[in-house]
């Protein structure tokens, strides 16, 4: 279980998150929507452990651990995975090496033997088929020269290989054409099970057509101002965020 309690965070002295409360159970898919600048990506970064952000108040309980006490790699080893909105290019680092290093870092943290080359290739090829990636991407530098869609597929590929307990998808649908969106969504959907939790950050209903969320939340001005079922996403798609202006906190400019 992940319990976010009154989480407040700032960037360079500017408050971005102003008291986020959210509880997510294993097996649940939570969609997080909201206008630009609401703090959605900041929340994702705080959960993943980005050093540029300062948590000023609140806590994040991750099963039996205080998530905020953990370094980014420790969070990763514990099963937290963030699919980046803007995946970083790593010139000179082959995708195959990067993936293998990441997998074996996890295995070592879990006291397992490293994966040998044969098993790695087999496992990776299978995952690549699931996200519609050509094997040639293994020999390319990580995200260098990748299109927007290829970068997002590569993020989902990493998620499939690292098999997280808590996956945060930060606008994974942005920059994808219709076919790529379906492939990526199906890849995510295939990971759904009773032990895994998803937090899906998106602006659009279209991703949620395939990844059907259990809960939809609206983050505005650093707080969750509305929560509901999948129908909330449809309402937002239809009416935008203006109708939420009367909801408590949305217009809180303090």
């Amino acid at each position: 279980m992940i319990v976010i309690d009154n989480l407040q965070a700032e960037v360079e002295g500017k408050a971005i998150l102003k008291g986020v409360n959210l509880t997510m159970n294993p097996g649940e898919v939570h969609a997080l929507m909201g206008p630009n600048g609401a703090g959605k990506s900041t929340l994702a970064d705080v959960l993943a452990g980005h050093g540029d952000l300062t948590v000023t108040s609140g806590s994040v309980r991750y099963y039996d651990q205080n998530l905020l006490d953990l370094a980014p790699e420790e969070r990763s080893h514990a099963g937290v995975f963030k699919a980046f909105q803007y995946p970083v290019a790593l010139p000179g680092v082959k995708n195959a090496y990067f993936l293998k290093a990441a997998i074996n870092a996890h295995r070592k943290a879990q006291g397992q033997d490293p994966l040998d080359a044969f098993d790695f290739i087999q496992m990776t090829k299978e995952a690549m088929v699931r996200v519609g990636m050509d094997e040639s991407f293994l020999q390319r530098d990580v995200n260098v020269g990748f299109s927007g869609g290829e970068k997002k597929r590569n993020e989902v590929l990493q998620m499939l290989l690292l098999d997280p307990k808590f996956a945060i998808l930060d606008e994974t649908d942005s920059g994808l054409d219709i076919d790529a969106l379906r492939t990526v969504a199906e890849g995510v959907q295939s990971l759904r099970d009773s032990k895994r939790t998803f937090l899906v950050i998106t602006h659009y209903q279209r991703l949620l057509d395939t990844i059907k969320p259990d809960f939809v939340h609206v983050l505005a001005n650093g707080k969750i101002v509305k929560s509901g079922g999948p129908e909330l996403a449809l309402t937002l798609e239809d009416q935008g965020y203006a109708w939420l202006s009367d909801v408590e906190g949305h217009n809180d400019k303090s």
Binding site: V93, A101, D141
Partner: protein, 339 residues
Amino acid sequence: MINLDQITGPLLVFIDGQFSLEASQTECIGLEVKADNDGHTVVVHLSQDVPAIYCLHQCDGLSPEAPIALTVKLDAGVSTEIHEYVFGEANQAYQQTLQWRCEVAQGSHLLWLSHQNLSEHVRWHSQGEHYVEGQLSYHVETLGQSLIEAEMLVKLLAENAECHVHGLLVGQGQSKSRQDWRIEHLAPNTTCDMHYRALMGNNAQGSWLGHAHVADQAKGAKVTQMSRQMLFGKHARMHAKPELTIHCDEVACQHGATVGQLDEQALFYLRSRGLLHWQARMLLTWSFVQEVLVMRQASKHCLPEDSMLQQSLAAVMDHDGTSVLNDFWQGKEVKHDEW
């Protein structure tokens, strides 16, 4: 350190600035070596291909009285590689100058790879002057804590002549390095590219000056100059300056220089995938130097002294991460024990 037993080709050995015929292996078809009586002047003339020639400079005794003058001439259509190792652990002040000259005829290709790893007592000064009608590729790797000064002039004399110069400096301790490269385009459609990378730790200081001169008759010249440096030490300093002088139209020239530190976003990205902080730093550092290692990695005749570079990088990074670097070296199989 270099293991001489691994050398199977021709070998030129200079001990404290003097050519040692006894320690060298010069019996090779097509390799002509002339040395003067005091051993300070050596000429190598190749009239046919030789896969690789090894050249060792050992600097750990008394400073030589005169500079070494080393000339390499390649006849038309000849190719070879020269693997130069400059090393020494002099424990007292030691100073040496190398004057080297290459003459590369049309249709010939000289790949020169220089590995320099010297103690802090050594001052190594090289002056290169090269006349190129074919192709000259030069890779220089500077490790250790010495004072290195290098001046190199390359003249591209014939149409389509090429010069590729790649340098890597790993500055440690109080080391000082000065690299001045000047490439003159004196014929049409000539090409040069200069790529320099520096990793500066501790109090290391360095400067790189890359100058490309395109003469008025060098129409169609292509020039690339790129220098990137990273500072790890609090007091490390690096000065980089690419310069272009262009005297004709219809040329393609690009240049740039950057000085910075490891990308925090990239570090976070790697850590978010489970790599430990030092592993992520080492990985990014290794990827940073990759571009200037392509020549070395393309050669099949490099001696397996990779650990020297790895150890130097690890020292600059202030972490024994050599096992991580092993994983990257020339695509070798990943060693798992550190993961």
